[in-house]
Symmetry: C2
Subunit: 175 residues, 2 copies
């Protein structure tokens, strides 16, 4: 993560009149200014999400569950009784296929998910959340909501909307 690409620093010369540094520059101990607004925005994104992910991990850690595993459980809770085939889970996570198999392996090992060959199409494997899995999620709902609340606490609703819109457009441009 964090490319922090422009961390090139000039020699450690004194800088009698250092220009105003951005918040991000200070965070990554960078002296040289960013080469463009776009670069600063990109690095800001990477940096912000890195911190977010760390926070989320900390929140989940006491329950011995990772972000990925949590994500799969949420998806399966949403899928209900019938469960979902392995690759359908992958789609909803926007992750590449192979990872999901092993991710589910671990959830099965912990008793949170059940797996079963689909009768109609024997290529497929349906994954279903177990009662234990549902209990776990119920416990986690509170902490997770709290974290979601904290994350955006510095922004008012207009700003959140703005952020959502900017991100939508970046993704549209990358698509």
């Amino acid at each position: 993560m964090e490319r922090n690409a422009p961390t090139e620093r000039p020699a450690l010369t004194d800088r009698p009149e250092k220009a105003a540094q951005s918040a991000l520059q200070r965070e990554i101990l960078q002296t040289r200014p960013f080469s463009s607004l776009g670069q600063e925005a990109t690095l800001g994104l990477l940096r912000t999400v890195d911190i977010l992910r760390r926070r989320f991990s900390e929140t989940m850690a006491p329950w011995g569950i990772t972000q990925q595993q949590y994500n799969v459980l949420r998806i399966l809770r949403g899928a209900g009784e019938e469960g979902l085939p392995t690759l359908a889970i992958a789609e909803r996570m926007l992750e590449r296929t192979p990872g999901v198999t092993r991710l589910v392996d671990r959830l099965v090992a912990k008793g949170w998910v059940r797996r079963q060959r689909c009768a109609e199409d024997r290529r497929r494997v349906d994954c279903t959340i177990t009662a234990a899995g549902l209990d776990l999620l119920k416990e986690l709902d509170g902490p997770v909501e709290a974290l979601d609340g904290v994350t955006m606490s510095m922004l008012d609703d207009t700003e959140k909307r703005q952020l959502i819109d900017l991100l939508d457009r970046i993704r549209a441009g990358l698509a």
Copy 2:
């Protein structure tokens, strides 16, 4: 990545009048609306950065270098002749210590970095970028700049500033 937390979907009933869906909801095949603006913004961040990271990886792949490795090389290029002790690299990457050792191991194996015990403080190990490493970076400068350009191409300068500012404040709130 991508918690996509609220992927809970109601049963697959028809929805004669489906409410306006956000861009993100469509992307992750989610029917149920987000429970809050903050949640949508958070998931938008995770999703956007995931796509960004993927793009960056694709760009680097032909050179057989990963994002992390590239990041380390950029930092060492900035450090110049004297190089940097291992943990100083870690600081600039905001990554936890242990990872850097092995990351640098691979760079050394490929001949892009040289490592040497520091004479004054024999606990430290100074890492320096080699000529081959510098050549590699030079080749990569173009493609990387191009990618940076594309990434934010949908936003004008005012919007980029806005994004940078919003992200700064989110990080400030999480700190």
